[in-house]
């Protein structure tokens, strides 16, 4: 696995929490803009070879981002991120969830709370994202859903996954 000293991915299983931390070579305003403006989000949010397509973006408390990650064959995975509170340019809190093309959130599936914090000094910015699930059952539901939808690697798709990890 490629080691990137600027990237940290920590799992706290007991608390059903994932913390992702990453440093970027840009000032805080620019990194903030990339996280909060649709024209920028569409250029980076989906991992290749998927692309991002924003259908709706209203970046304010109570607003939401409705977007799809699109596979090369056209298959789309829709999500919706509901913004709960925003403190420009230091952070925001949002609820992540699976949705359909109309933007309706799937009520059967749990939502994770994203607490995203930005801290910068001159031309360096660190982004810390805490992804919080309510329970281990919720995490399990998300995994099961992914397996069913073909979103998550099954054992049969290990090869692709490992290529990604080594990339």
């Amino acid at each position: 696995m490629k080691i990137d000293p600027r990237f940290e991915f920590a799992v706290d299983k007991a608390r059903n929490r994932i913390t992702v931390e990453r440093e970027f070579a840009a000032n805080q305003q620019l990194v903030w803009d990339c996280h909060t403006r649709r024209e920028y989000l569409d250029q980076w949010f989906a991992p290749k070879p998927l692309t991002t397509r924003t259908k709706h973006m209203d970046f304010r408390a109570g607003g939401y981002w409705h977007y799809a990650m699109v596979m090369p064959d056209g298959q789309s995975f829709w999500s919706r991120l509901d913004y709960q509170s925003i403190a420009p340019i230091n952070g925001y809190v949002a609820l992540d969830g699976f949705s359909d093309e109309t933007g309706a959130v799937n009520p059967e599936l749990p939502r994770a709370r994203w607490d995203v914090a930005f801290s910068g000094a001159q031309d360096r910015t660190t982004v810390t994202t805490v992804i919080q699930y309510d329970s281990a059952q919720d995490v399990q539901k998300v995994i099961d859903m992914g397996l069913q939808a073909g979103l998550t690697s099954t054992l049969e798709r290990l090869d692709e996954l490992l290529l990604t990890l080594q990339g």
Partner: protein, 114 residues
């Protein structure tokens, strides 16, 4: 948390080898003897046993010996699914942040030109 990440790394190390992936995939369909596992790989039993040993250390598989026959089973399939999901989440964030590096570089470049 550190221990947990270490276990995630050891599982991904174990699965970085194509023979071991083949073994895990085969066991996903049900238990198999070591001889059965060796067949598709045209591999001598001692070499195969080394791979089985690496997988056993991660806790992904378990083997039992009855007489002269050693049978392997995929253990904790659900745990394997959790580990894979976490590994995939990690890969997704790593990949999207790689994209963001490129975008920031582009935007910084545009800024310098202005």
């Amino acid at each position: 948390m550190d221990n947990y990440c270490a276990s995630l790394d050891s599982i991904f190390h174990a699965l970085a080898d194509p023979t071991r992936r083949g073994i895990v995939q085969r066991l996903g369909r049900g238990p198999a003897t070591v001889t059965e596992l060796a067949q598709p790989f045209a591999m001598a039993l001692p070499s195969l046993m080394k791979h089985v040993g690496v997988l056993e250390e991660t806790g992904l598989i378990r083997s039992t010996k009855t007489g002269r026959v050693r049978t392997c089973v995929l253990e904790r399939k659900q745990l394997a699914a959790v580990e894979l999901w976490l590994g995939e989440q990690r890969a997704v964030w790593q990949a999207r942040y790689g994209n963001l590096d490129a975008l920031l570089e582009k935007l910084n470049g545009e800024d310098d030109e202005n």
